[in-house]
Symmetry: C2
Subunit: 533 residues, 2 copies
């Protein structure tokens, strides 16, 4: 099926502009289809439709929203091979990865469907009245989470499905009851068009209002800024670079009505190798990490870009084996030209810094935008004195830091900025000797891993994907897992309301059977006793 290249604005397909861009096949190095950039009128229409849709969609029951989310998953699957081929072509990623990512995307949609269908996510909290309390009567107060309004989602380059058009941000924002406007990523406009069509199809089939979803083509600096600055927009989800995320964050904070921007901006994800572990299995750990560093051409926000240990024979063994392993891994095409260019420049700059030595690099090959796996080493002292070494090189690169001892290791950990993850590779029995190190690693990160690799972000209730700044703009929230819905909801309290006028979630007889905190106790029971309103 040929792609139409238009903007999807609610249930309409529009392309009044004469300005267009081409999608691109990074592996073959050739232009693909034509996509029209959204005009100002089209942007205004999408915003207007979103505001209109919010007026009804915000009151849809959890069950209805679940039907919509499930239908999106079904429609995505129904796109079949065309989706897989388009995403592979546009991203340069292999079939297995894209099929896996489609599964993850559908899994996320179904998980949020389950969450809102069950309904307890609204954190219903009820305090019943005490009319006779002294010195003042206590009123009946009941609180629950409700949606905030239209959400703008910036699709991510490195997850063309799971963190893009129908990815975690979209799924959680829709689940909470908010219309979504997606700014398509320039790196996979065809994939976006297919997915946006699937969402629109699902919305029509399940009776959602026009404008509950739109997808626009355009540049971050123009379309992106315009969306974030518009008064109708109440929240923003973003996954991408530090500069991109901060540009949106600053624009949103300077609005007359500031709004939150949940930007997940990646990090270097330090890995701490403790001596006992290295003594036992230095080679094994090196092999494990060669795999993690180069997974998906190193294009994960959780890619381990920094490996820390204490200088010595075991550490040398680790570095030697890691270097050897890295040499044997074939370079692969990166997501797009800009990412490849920035990888080349970042790596070059890193290798020129004082004290940095190459520890191993794969052979360069013929091919487009190849990311050549590379590892380097530097001393703890040099690392501490050079903040340039703390920066992320997005791609299959990792810097190994050899520290003089436990104290310097702790200093190095605390010197790096906020991180999505940190990892401790250790024998269980050495943890008590290194408690300060474990504490330090936990305190700088949103997720701390023991004897594993940071890549691979499980979509579940317990996931925290979001760390202290600059890993994210707001480390109090996660962009992966069910708690991601909390970004797009706010509490609303009802005081002294009659039963009939309360939302079902807050009615005394608990018709939805959800978990609620009633007078301080979690329960799924109806509110007991006489209720004074």
């Amino acid at each position: 099926m040929a792609l139409h290249g238009k903007n999807r604005i609610g249930f309409e397909l529009l392309a009044a502009s004469e300005e267009f861009v081409h999608s691109y096949d990074p592996k073959a190095g050739k232009a693909l289809d034509k996509f029209y950039l959204a005009t100002e009128d089209e942007v205004a229409l999408a915003l207007d439709k979103a505001a209109q849709a919010f007026d009804s969609y915000r009151y849809y029951s959890g069950k209805r929203k679940a039907e919509f989310l499930e239908a999106i998953a079904d429609e995505i699957l129904a796109l079949g091979d065309e989706l897989i081929e388009t995403a592979m072509k546009e991203s340069g990623l292999p079939e297995g990865r894209i099929i896996g990512e489609r599964g993850r995307t559908m899994g996320q949609l179904r998980l949020f469907a389950q969450l809102v269908s069950e309904g307890s996510w609204v954190d219903a909290t009820i305090e019943t009245a005490q009319p006779d309390r002294q010195p003042l009567p206590k009123p009946d107060i009941r609180k629950m989470l409700c949606p905030v309004g239209p959400v703008v989602v910036f699709a991510a380059s490195n997850f063309p499905l799971a963190f893009s058009t129908a990815g975690g941000d979209t799924a959680s924002a829709l689940a909470a009851g908010n219309p979504v406007i997606v700014k398509a990523h320039m790196s996979h406009l065809g994939t976006n068009e297919l997915i946006a069509g699937a969402i629109s199809q699902a919305a029509e089939k399940t009776g959602m209002p026009d404008g509950v979803f739109s997808s626009l083509n355009g540049r971050g600096s123009s379309l992106g800024q315009a969306l974030v600055k518009h008064p109708v927009v109440k929240s923003v989800g973003f996954t991408g670079s530090f500069n991109g995320g901060m540009a949106l964050y600053r624009a949103a904070a300077q609005r007359e009505e500031p709004i939150p921007v949940f930007a997940e901006m990646g990090s270097v994800n330090p890995v701490v190798l403790l001596p006992g572990k290295l003594k036992k299995v230095a080679e094994e750990v090196a092999k494990q990490y060669a795999g993690s560093i180069t997974l998906g051409v190193g294009q994960f926000c959780t890619n381990p870009g920094l490996i820390l240990g204490i200088a010595g024979d075991e550490m040398d063994t680790f570095i030697r084996v890691l270097g050897k392993e890295i040499q044997a891994i074939a370079p692969a095409t990166m997501l797009n030209e800009a990412i490849h260019k920035s990888y080349q420049e970042g790596k070059k700059k890193m290798l020129e810094q004082k004290g940095v030595q190459l520890a191993g690099a794969a052979k360069d090959e013929e091919g487009n935008f190849l990311g050549v796996p590379t590892v380097a080493r530097v001393s703890g002292a040099d690392f501490l004195s050079n903040p340039g070494l703390h920066e992320e090189v997005f791609g299959p690169f990792s810097l190994v830091v050899t520290c003089s001892g436990k104290e310097e290791l702790r200093e190095v950990i605390l010197s790096v900025k906020g991180q999505l993850t940190s990892t401790i590779m250790a024998e269980e029995n050495e943890l008590s000797d290194y408690q300060e190190i474990v504490y330090a690693a936990a305190n700088i990160a949103g997720r701390v891993i023991f004897n594993g690799v940071p890549t691979g972000v499980e979509v579940c209730h317990a996931m925290q994907h979001g760390g202290p700044f600059p890993a994210s703009t707001d480390g109090r929230f996660t962009s992966v897992g069910t708690d991601a819905i909390r970004r797009f909801a706010r509490p609303l309290a009802y005081q002294g309301f009659p039963e009939d006028a309360l939302p079902d979630e807050l009615k005394s007889n608990n018709p939805l059977g959800i978990w609620r905190k009633v007078n301080g106790e979690l329960t799924r029971e109806a509110v007991a006793g006489e209720v004074y309103i």
Copy 2:
């Protein structure tokens, strides 16, 4: 006991500055004691001590933090009459109010003590491993809330106890495990000194680290800005004016590492009078609201500054009775000179606007900084065309808007900005006819009240005190009630950690007996079955 006028920096009392200010008795119109402004060195020391204290305090158990909070409540009570007299003198508020507010302050501290002693507030979420899952094994992940770091609290003028030095912001930040630095409010420096001494005493008695609490004297524009911009500070609590809150918010957002400012900036708290209610009890409602408008000289963030209804005989009756009631209420001294000046100017400006008519005012009397209760009326059309009428006049003033019908009433509600509260005065049986009105009122506010008054903010689990901007900088959080603790905590996930290295809250056997979400189900039981890590 004479006041020393010094800054409390951890366990030290310092006053190296030659710059000082006097506290002030607004009723008597005379200067009281001398207070030294914090020097740059003293500010730096307080920040340094807070950072140091965080390194240990963050790991204190809920039980130990509860002891500290309980001890603060005890020490505040032990201040006895000196506290009551000082607060009365500095605020101009009557004894009953100050004694009530002390009770509320102690109640808040004990409520947070109970919350962290019980422990479930950390939202522990556990997903156990599935090593055999296809296509990839599922890791063991466990998440809980942990403290964020030193918090700066700006004491509020209108609650010299309950939202100041040991108020809700301080109590919730300490409960979460964060050191607190208070910027004392210039309006009650003596009250601050006494309370700060009580907190310090409690900290020493219960073995808290030096620097877990400091209190500094200084101006918002210098000390306040310096604190908010300092990298050690990770979060800010503020209650006060829109301009004051936004100055801090903008400064915090422009930091290299942006931090959240939870500013509760007040609102006009619209009250909607539905016709059925007025038909039945217009006089009663008018009397009830005359009381609410003038409570505490109108100096509550939930003061009803805007009353909306549909034009007609009943509305006229309401306005007439309200005007008469207001005339009979004696003016009283406002909190300070600045608040009084701003009340006078705001009221004057309001009464000069097109279409605004005086509906009743109390007689002016001899006295210092008297807030004269005043109500005015205006048509819905004039209100809609003049955004100046939407602004808050902080004090005992309320504007009554008479709308031409249901549709204009809805328009008026939706035209006002975000609010802390909105109120519906109605007969139960007319709610279904006015559903759009109820929806509109709920959508602009953090708390919607049925047949009550917005003043009186219950401290409980279900309270939401924080609304859409500009009522608060972040309507997703509350500054009153137990959920206020969420402002000062972030989730941290542990992946694959051995039992011994996990915090107690996340250990499989649940030694603290807290509520946890285990594999999607809320339970207080230990994690069942074999646990693969």
